[in-house]
């Protein structure tokens, strides 16, 4: 079987088996990529994973690109990523098409009104869990507060906040006002992005894994 096809199929399998992405994906990734296929070592996977969080975009996609690129160069990176998103495309399109025809039914409307309340709580949970590793001193609190208040009351693109916050982070680090030791944040990244996925299960794993 061609290695491209294998890349596609393995990552499609990981895509199907991952609910919510993030840290929940890591054990499946280790089993499929390290143990079964031997495409990367355990520490290599952890590195890719950590960097996948320190780069823009979806973590699962970033890791898939890394491994694909390692195996078969740039085309391999693209094929692995396409494999990763393929199940989502298929499943979500079917569900969206079905729901599209049912949304006008009264009780379905009531059901989704209830579900929206639940989604609010999921987002709140994601924020609370992220908070611990992101807001570590007074400066990070100021960044959080400015961005939060700014985007609640102003109608500006989030892109602007991201660019300004990145520059501010570099400036604060270089000025040496940062209370937290540089590098500590990077070590914690594993938890940060996992929690962004908002999965309670993922957060649980992280708490155990950190040895707290």
């Amino acid at each position: 079987m061609s290695e491209y096809l294998q890349l596609f199929l393995v990552f499609a399998k990981i895509g199907v088996m991952t609910f919510g992405g993030g840290y929940a994906m890591l054990p499946i990734l280790q089993r499929e990529v390290c143990e079964t296929k031997k495409w990367a070592g355990d520490s290599e996977i952890m590195d890719y994973y950590a960097i996948g969080q320190c780069t823009p975009g979806i973590i699962a996609v970033n890791v898939a690109t890394f491994i694909g690129k390692k195996q078969k160069g740039i085309p391999g990176g693209i094929v692995a990523t396409l494999g990763m998103v393929f199940p989502s495309l298929l499943i979500i399109t079917v569900i969206a098409a079905v729901l599209h025809n049912f949304m006008d039914i009264v009780w379905i409307g009531h059901a989704f009104a209830g579900i929206r309340v639940c989604v609010c709580v999921f987002i709140l949970n994601a924020v609370l869990k992220l908070w611990k590793s992101a807001v570590v001193d007074v400066w990070t609190f100021i960044v959080f507060a400015l961005v939060f208040v700014g985007s609640v009351i102003l109608d500006l693109s989030p892109v602007l906040y991201v660019i300004v916050a990145g520059i501010a982070g570099i400036a604060l680090s270089l000025l040496g006002v940062r209370k937290e030791k540089p590098g500590k944040g990077a070590a914690k990244d594993g938890s940060v992005a996992a929690e962004k996925e908002g999965s309670p299960a993922a957060a649980e794993k992280k708490n155990g894994g950190d040895g707290k």
């Binding site: 199907v16 919510g20 991201v162």
Partner: protein
């Protein structure tokens, strides 16, 4: 050309959302305001479906938005094309960035600038997701669009009670809090139907 715009909007989301998953929500909310393709309520529904299905949350939401936008313009086939275009737009920056980073792996990992940037980006990401959450709360619990309409907000007790129950179940009840999100979504759907939300 709606597909070009879809691609650009999702390319932007993929390029600037840091950490994946919920980090894409502020960009989608901005997209909803800027384009009118979908409402805040629809966005919340899409997040719920994305949470309940396999695959990374960010990718699932992108596919759903792409399908919704494409269907509105060109029907079912247009929706499928929209789903593909939005998802490809979302992952394209990842592919480019990771391929570049792979060449400078060690430099990237040890860079003071990268570390510094993330020192600022992490709290900003929390702030953005929090604000997006406020938007969805205002719409789904208070039935208003912005904080400035607060005078006309009407809070229903049953919404608040459900929120409190889910919050308690997902955070403080041992074993239950480890359950997959789909169980809480199903519970909320049943409560929504029974109590006519």
């Amino acid at each position: 050309m709606i597909y070009l715009r879809l691609f650009i909007e999702f390319f932007k989301t993929g390029l600037f959302s840091v950490g994946g998953g919920m980090a894409t929500i502020p960009f989608l909310q901005d997209m909803s305001r800027a384009t009118g393709w979908f409402t805040s309520a629809q966005l919340a529904d899409m997040i719920a479906v994305a949470e309940s299905t396999p695959g990374p949350l960010g990718v699932n939401t992108a596919t759903y938005v792409g399908f919704t936008v494409g269907t509105q313009e060109y029907g079912m086939l247009g929706g499928i094309l929209g789903a593909v275009v939005a998802t490809v737009g979302l992952v394209t920056p990842s592919i480019i960035v990771i391929i570049v980073v792979a060449y400078f792996l060690d430099k990237f990992r040890k860079s003071r600038y990268v570390d510094g940037a993330f020192y600022g980006l992490r709290p900003a990401s929390v702030g953005l997701i929090g604000a997006a959450g406020v938007g969805i709360v205002l719409m789904s619990v208070f039935r208003i669009n912005t904080v400035f309409e607060f005078a006309s907000a009407h809070l229903e007790l049953k919404h608040l009670l459900l929120a409190a129950a889910i919050l308690a179940l997902t955070n403080w009840v041992p074993k239950v809090k480890k359950l997959h999100p789909i169980y809480f979504i199903l519970l909320s759907a049943v409560v929504g139907v029974v109590f006519r939300f």
